[in-house]
Amino acid sequence: MTENNELIRSSAAALAGKLAAREVSAVEVTQAHLDRIAAVDGKVHAFLHVNTDEALAVAAEVDAIRAAGGAAAGELHALAGVPIAVKDLIVTIGQPTTAGSKILEGWHSPYDATVVERLRAAKMPILGKTNLDEFAMGSSTEHSAYGPTHNPWDLDRIPGGSGGGSAAAVAAFEAPLALGTDTGGSIRQPGAVTGTVGVKPTYGGVSRYGAIAMASSLDQIGPVSRTVLDSALLHQVIGGHDPRDSTSLQDPLEDLVAAASIGNVAGMKIGIIKELHGEGYQAGVENRFNESLELLRGAGAEIVEVSCPNFKYALGAYYLIMPSEASSNLAKFDGVRYGLRVLPKDGPMTIERVMGATRAAGFGDEVKRRIILGTYALSAGYYDAYYGSAQKVRTLIQRDFDAAFAKADVLISPTAPTTAFKLGEKLNDPLAMYLNDVATIPANMAGVPGLSLPGGLADEDGLPVGVQLLAPARQDARLYRVGAVLESLLEAQWGGPLLDKAPSLTDPSLTGSALSDAAASSHGGSH
């Protein structure tokens, strides 16, 4: 148990070192994580599918190559044998892909996403597929058709969304690494509320081929981990040009691992975005954010204030562009070629009525809400007022970023306005739910990269707070440089990783409700 504990709590970088030194085998590492999943996922529900056999087979292959030595062993990727979880929006051969929706229940992809091909090429065992809001639409994972994921810090609270499964899996030590997708904050906001690290790369930095599209112009795949360095390592596995994605950047990938290892921020200008803190942000979030600023200032960074006046329109514009694209991207789910097919109960059996019955039964309320919004926004007579205006706002947001980056090397804000809220709390209030993404959406609208890292625990509820860093497009390396420095300063203050403070999920005296009661007693009630 103690050895397993050591393995599951190790960073990916540390595991890579132990594997390379043959202190531990890839099968042992993979098995330790599979055991952890078996022990805690009943409570967390981070996984929709566990890929035991294939993961162990890949691990065994890595061990065999290492044992044989020679050129093949020397050519192994640094992360070979380090297991990973994959958000169930990303298609995989050999495992089901559901997108968190009933409409794809039981569907197996005939092809691998480009990022999955790259994981396989690096021989990283894939532990399984993680839970998400249906088609990545949500900020709490409560919109999954397969039940919500629970926040390992408090099982009665949301793990964020849409990538709550990936974030919770990493926070609960079920996986050292995971893949997420981020359309309006679906990697970063779950990172913030689970005390983990998540990165949305520059738009085009990672191939989207094989990520089931929500909003094509906003979606990006990115790394989820417990340390900044681990995200850099994973980013280097999945990043780089892909001829199958026309929007994929041609640039060679920067050395992000080196950036995470620079270790200083002296002389860097870090810009506080005036519009992304203060009013509407929970006090504990604001406090932890200010502490991070002081640490960076103390490390020699120059803190400046920048204003992005058009960010106030970002949420509104996002909720026109995203549903417009989603309404079209989700049209293919019609029961004709794959997935669920529902026949109308009575009346004529026409193709239109079969499509209608299938979509009525297969999609959840939030998905239908967005399809209807998007269909409306694209309709003749409304297009200019809605989609057209939203695109103009997008240009204004890009200009705000341009102006801000003229004054600062990176920008900083809280990742989310609040800590994790209770399951069910905002389920019937879509607008309140949408506001969770107010600080993360601008990066997607402009295509710039963003990273969220743990900033500490909020005073009023003892729950994790996220700090977001933003950099200009193609300057992802700056995020890793600043993020790694801030992480080490914060961990020095805490005396170790923030997740050391998370409750044990295997202590039988602590049930979900006991955890939530403890948290509720110190809850500041500032949502």
């Binding site: 990303i90 992809s109 092809y111 081929y209 094509s216 049209a331 019609d334 003749a380 989609y387």
Partner: protein, 501 residues
């Protein structure tokens, strides 16, 4: 079911037709518009597809660069401007032939726009057709509706879908409204589509076979009273797939519109289906200008940038324009103006060119196409090129005649055999026992018999009246049931009578 029509002459007396064409050209690229699957016609259904063509979750399109080049070439050949940057859009509608439930098509940013094409009518008149745009799009899959009486989706028991055609690159060429054609409208329609077909064929960007749907025409027709500027309400006859059908469909719609207008009823704005068997159209679906396809720019594709250098490079590769080509071919072939115009009007210029390329002389090629094949095509009611005569067949037939193996009369018989599917010319000659009698023995026997039977004629020939030889030749041909080579017979008769030819 059948609509009332006015005679074409009466329709023309009362109304002025306005035409418009949308011609879809399937490009012959190796792979599809947005996927690496092969672009091949007629294979086993659903084999030339990959996950992109099937609209699987997670897939993304990638633009085929060759398709862009072909589109630019078509635009240049149509005298269009080429957009420096342009985008694709999504046309959203639910229908199972479109696996994504949207078609990726250019919408408000076509790659080519503002062009024209000068069309030569049968009497040499030049008529300019303005081109509004030529834009790129992907083809849909092919649906086959089973069990219904009409082959339409209504009333079918089930439908089969073949996605091999899904994603095949198309260029849609849209004209501006064509005014002033008057009673030449049907002829112009045919000549316009023929010209577009000729262009894309010469560019090598399409197989350009109308019978295979490589070139498909939607014909818009409206009528207005003479002297009125405002257009009437139009109908759009879909998928008219031969040159003759284009002419007939336009003619029929003019006659039908005229009858509707005469009756005081409004024209219904709708698509029409063309029926080759009855040469009529029937009502399709209502088509309003307000159909809402919720177009928006395709976010999965980056804009296409056509640098001026690239466009000029492509322009430099263009083959000669059709008018110049005609001039050159006429000179090369040595046809008179009238002969050449007849060839063009009969629609066999390409066929003659191919036949000459296959080894025939210009005279021989014209003799066969104009003298034999055009008439047979007319009787069969198909375009001459679609009758099924390969250039190689003509070359083979002609060689047999030149070698004296068969004569001209037999050759036409063999041609009929080829068209009836009896085999190659050589096989038919063997099967039907057609061969010129070239062994002099039997010929001399027949000649001697004929001379003996007509001693008076023999004397005339001996006396130098060589034109009398025809009577003897006729007898010999009769005796040999036409299998003798008349030239050789003549020689032998003269030899026999000791007369210098």
């Amino acid at each position: 079911m059948s609509d009332a029509t006015l005679s074409f002459e009466e329709a023309m007396e009362k109304y002025d037709p306005v035409l418009g064409f949308e011609v879809h050209v399937e490009l012959n690229t190796k792979s599809k518009m947005f996927s690496s699957a092969p672009n091949i016609f007629g294979d086993e259904p659903n084999t030339n597809v990959n996950e992109v063509d099937l609209g699987m979750p997670g897939v993304l399109p990638v633009v085929n660069k060759t398709a862009i080049e072909s589109s630019i070439k078509i635009g240049l050949a149509l005298n269009c401007k080429i957009a420096e940057t342009c985008r694709f859009a999504r046309k959203n509608y639910f229908y199972p032939d479109t696996p994504k439930n949207f078609q990726t098509s250019q919408y408000d940013e076509p790659i080519a726009y503002d062009g024209y094409l000068d069309i030569e009518l049968s009497d040499g008149t030049i008529f300019r057709v303005e081109i509004e745009r030529a834009h790129m799009e992907e083809d849909a899959g092919k649906l086959t509706h089973m069990g219904g009486a009409t082959g339409r989706i209504q009333g079918a028991d089930y439908s089969l879908v073949d996605y091999n055609r899904s994603g095949v690159p198309l260029v849609e060429i849209v004209t501006k409204p064509i005014e002033g054609a008057g009673s030449r409208a049907p002829e112009l329609a045919k000549a316009y589509v023929a010209a577009v077909r000729e262009i894309v064929k010469n560019l090598g960007v399409s197989d350009a076979k109308m019978e295979r749907g490589n070139v498909r025409c939607d014909a818009n027709v409206s009528l207005r009273p003479h002297g009125r500027e405002r257009f009437g309400i139009r109908s759009e006859t879909k998928n008219v797939n031969s040159l003759r059908a284009v002419e007939h469909a336009v003619r029929y719609e003019i006659q039908r519109h005229a009858a509707v207008l005469d009756s005081g009823e409004p024209i219904v704005q709708e698509t029409r289906h063309w029926h080759e068997d009855t040469r009529t159209t029937t009502s399709g679906r209502p088509k309003s200008d307000a159909d809402d396809y919720r177009y928006f720019p395709e976010p999965d594709l980056v804009p296409i940038v056509a640098s001026r250098e690239w466009v000029e490079e492509l322009r430099a590769t263009l083959p000669e324009p059709p008018a110049a080509r005609r001039k050159r071919l006429q000179a090369d072939w040595g046809y008179s103006d009238l002969e050449f115009r007849d060839v063009v009007n009969a629609g066999v210029m390409d066929e003659i060119e191919e036949t000459i390329a296959a080894g025939a002389t210009a005279t021989v090629a014209r003799k066969w196409w104009m003298g034999e094949i055009v008439g047979r095509a007319k009787n069969a009611d198909v375009d001459p090129g679609q009758l099924g005569v390969a250039p190689a067949t003509i070359v083979e037939l002609n060689k047999m005649v030149e070698d004296g193996k068969i004569n001209n009369k037999m050759a036409t018989e063999v041609l009929d055999g080829v068209l009836a599917g009896e085999g190659t010319p050589a096989e038919i000659v063997a099967k039907r026992g057609l061969a010129v009698v070239s062994d002099d023995g039997p010929l001399l026997e027949a000649i001697d018999a004929a001379l003996a039977a007509q001693p008076g004629v023999a004397d005339k020939i001996r006396g130098g009246k060589l034109q009398a030889i025809g009577a003897i030749v006729g007898s010999v041909m009769k005796a040999t049931r036409g299998q003798a080579d008349a030239g050789r017979v003549k020689e032998l008769i003269l030899e026999r009578l000791g007369v210098e030819g």
